[in-house]
């Protein structure tokens, strides 16, 4: 009896312990990105999704919708919600704010959990640009094609591509993002990536996000796309990563670390470490998102740094990778018309201007960048518009997380010298092909 009880007790412990483990892993989730991009050009199609007519936002039923977004560290979400309530509260329209954790993985997990439970508790969700394909192919979102096509001319083309999947539009752009090359006053304005790396060697080096995570996928694709490379074939069915163009881009990065143009430690850097390193003043160049302008431009380097759109790859073109967020509307929302009204309000010129002025978030409509107030307060506005205009999207696919993982793991291996660039691209190629054959 004692023996039996002992075994039973141990089983119970093991059960409890491992059950915690498995539910823990199912509750966390990852796209592991702070920013991203996606676009059209995919062969996939999503049929049978509910379509929301453009007219739905006129006089929707009175009520309250919930806007779910990541932790509002800057107050940007609180601002737009309070503005919405101030504008429409008297007509009986209200919005509530629900904040998810700060990590992008956790936001995605929270939203997925709600959608799998068919819960309408998030009417509008602030979706990272790389999640469009996944959410829409699971039929979790309203098809907003009628609204978006009617208003397409209002938006910058590139951010609009991030809500496009399978020939339809699944959201309304909120804010955008693109990377800059930051350099200290007195350095030459870089015109090619090759020049950046050559100059960097003389001025301490270039720092960027080289840790194995989504950020590295962006950093690599910026060079690879500029060099003329692709990730997927035109029909989206096969990997095209193992190309001479991508190899040239990867070799530039790998040689940069070998010959001292970039410190070896970039292989462990995400955005915060990159910022820290650059603001120490020891490095001449940094690749980072627009937020770094506000973050680093106010500290010890105030007035000493410049930002430029990403340069050209010698002998080829230029590219940047789109980040930002879109308003998507849950198919389980009880008042989708009001949800669309909120998304439309977010994209209005007044709100877009406030987002860039107060919170340094890149607007998705071009007129804002010509506004005198914006030009005065955001000196890099013209460069930002240029960066957004030249921006390209990351591959759009429901298996994007696996594709990105194949890219950042192997590129990181090459940067750290564990694999040759050729071997890294070959490995990425076979991993992407097997990801594409996922059921």
């Amino acid at each position: 009896m004692r023996r039996g009880l002992g075994v039973a007790f141990l089983c119970a412990i093991v059960l409890a312990v491992t059950a915690c483990g498995s539910s823990g892993s199912s509750s966390s989730s990852g796209g592991s990105s702070s920013s991203g991009g996606s676009s059209s050009g995919s062969s996939a199609s999503v049929s049978g999704a509910k379509v929301l007519p453009a007219s739905a936002l006129n006089n929707p039923p009175k009520g309250t919708i919930t806007y779910c977004t990541g932790k509002d560290t800057t107050g940007a979400a609180h601002y737009v919600v309070s503005q919405f309530n101030a504008a429409y509260g008297s007509q009986g329209y209200h919005a509530n704010l629900v904040e998810f954790p700060a990590s992008a993985d956790q936001q995605r997990a929270q939203f997925i959990q709600r959608q799998q439970a068919k819960s309408g508790s998030c009417d509008v969700f602030s979706s990272d640009v790389i999640w469009t394909a996944e959410f829409s192919s699971q039929k979790w979102l309203y098809d907003l094609t009628p609204y978006v096509t009617a208003n397409a001319s209002k938006f910058i083309a590139a951010p609009l591509q991030t809500v496009h999947y399978g020939g339809k539009y699944w959201g309304v752009p909120q804010t955008s993002d693109a990377a800059f090359i930051y350099y200290k006053t007195g350095e030459a304005v870089p015109s090619t990536w090759q020049q950046v790396y050559t100059d960097a060697k003389k001025t301490g080096g270039i720092v960027y996000q080289g840790a194995p995570y989504e950020g590295l996928t962006c950093d690599f694709l910026e060079l690879a796309f500029a060099a003329g490379g692709q990730v997927l074939s035109a029909d989206g069915k096969k990997s095209a990563i193992n190309s001479p163009q991508n190899l040239a881009a990867l070799e530039l990065m790998v040689n940069g670390i070998k010959n001292g143009s970039a410190p070896q430690s970039v292989t462990t850097y995400m955005e915060p470490e990159t910022d820290q390193a650059f603001s120490s003043g020891k490095y001449g160049y940094m690749r980072n998102w627009t937020y770094a302008y506000a973050a680093d431009g106010t500290g010890s380097l105030k007035g000493k740094i410049h930002a430029a759109p990403l340069p050209t790859f010698a002998g080829a073109g230029k590219a940047s990778i789109l980040g930002g967020h879109n308003s998507v509307i849950s198919v389980y929302s009880k008042d989708p018309g009001l949800a669309l009204k909120f998304a439309d309000f977010f994209a209005s010129p007044a709100q877009q201007k406030a987002q860039i002025l107060k919170f340094s978030l890149a607007a998705v409509i071009p007129s804002v960048y010509k506004d005198p107030d914006v030009l005065k307060a955001v000196p890099y506005a013209p460069q930002l518009l240029q960066a957004l205009t030249q921006a390209k999207a990351r591959p759009v696919s429901p298996v994007y997380p696996q594709i990105s993982q194949a890219i950042y793991t192997n590129v990181n291996n090459a940067l750290a010298g564990r694999e040759s660039p050729q071997a890294a691209l070959k490995a990425a190629d076979s991993q992407i092909n097997s990801a594409l054959s996922t059921f």
């Binding site: 002992g6 141990l10 412990i13 093991v14 892993s25 192919s137 194995p212 430690s265 793991t409």
Partner: protein
């Protein structure tokens, strides 16, 4: 009034009736609520995970799934080189970190057990690492080892990329775990030490036993049940290690573990079947390890408790 008394007194008739029940049935009755609770909380998620692991769920088409039997266990587990290296890292991590933790924890417990001025302060200070959230621990260690200008490189005068090189990254994760959980073992062992009666030591002293003999012949044998409990808890915990590698290295650079790889598969890549199969394999490994503990050393636990 009578009804109220009746209601209040309902247990009484049950107790009377229970005289008619056999002791065994009564035991079953009394245990069943907690068994049902365990079934709901622990068994159901495991059974559901097993069900998931026998299927593939489409990442392309909403709601589409197909039965694949035990294929997932082979393709994404046993035959998958990534999973096998995760298993290898997990085992290395477990063996090294748990051994270090038990040795250091025992030392700490012995130090805390002695009566001296400032004993209370020492106990509090020693427990601080255990009180810190693991994720905070991980962020702290990450900051310390950030290269090239982190704290550790500055002190050592080196430019090593600690978290980007193969043996180092796993070593740092082991160090962080030892730093964090040794106090937990110390606490368990301290409780064990305190129930050893002082007169045994006095008798041994009178018989002329040296300090080392007293430690080996008295402290260790009497502390064995506590050490085993600590070992089992720590081993099961260590086999599931997730947060340290997740924050420090995202499970890369030779630090993938059974948990990071199943999280990556299940949550990031949304391959529910494959990810569940990996989680169940981890579950089976934990099961095997805990049965091994019972089989080979557990007899002693029963022996001790019977005494």
């Amino acid at each position: 009034m009578a009804t109220v008394a009746n209601q209040v007194g309902t247990p009484a008739p049950t107790r009377q009736r229970s005289k008619g029940l056999s002791e065994k049935r009564l035991a079953v009755l009394m245990v069943s609520p907690s068994m049902i609770l365990i079934a709901l909380v622990a068994a159901w998620p495991v059974i559901y995970a097993i069900w998931l692991s026998l299927h593939q769920y489409s990442v392309r088409v909403a709601g589409l799934s197909r039965w694949v039997g035990v294929d997932n266990y082979w393709t994404s587990g046993l035959s998958n080189p990534d999973w096998r290296s995760a298993l290898y890292h997990t085992l290395i991590f477990t063996v090294i970190s748990v051994s270090l933790e038990v040795v250091i924890g025992l030392g700490m417990a012995l130090a805390m057990h002695r009566a001296f001025r400032g004993q209370g302060l020492l106990r509090t200070v020693v427990l601080v690492p255990w009180a810190v959230l693991t994720v905070v621990t991980a962020v702290m260690w990450r900051t310390m080892f950030v290269s090239p200008y982190g704290f550790v490189n500055t002190v050592l005068g080196t430019h090593t990329v600690w978290l980007g090189q193969e043996p180092y990254a796993l070593i740092i994760i082991i160090l962080a775990d030892v730093w964090k959980t040794s106090p937990f073992i110390a606490l368990l062992l301290l409780a064990g030490l305190q129930i050893i009666p002082g007169d045994i030591y006095e008798a041994a002293k009178v018989d002329g036993a040296t300090a080392w003999q007293r430690f080996v012949r008295i402290t260790l044998p009497l502390l064995k049940p506590a050490i085993l409990v600590a070992l089992i808890f720590r081993t099961l915990d260590a086999l599931r290690i997730f947060d340290l590698p997740y924050v420090l290295t995202q499970g890369t650079v030779g630090t993938s573990t059974l948990s990071t790889i199943s999280q990556q598969t299940f949550a990031t890549n949304r391959l529910y079947g494959e990810g569940s199969a990996q989680a169940i394999l981890a579950f089976i490994i934990v099961m095997i390890v805990s049965f091994a503990y019972i089989r080979f050393i557990g007899g002693n636990i029963r022996g001790m408790t019977a005494e």
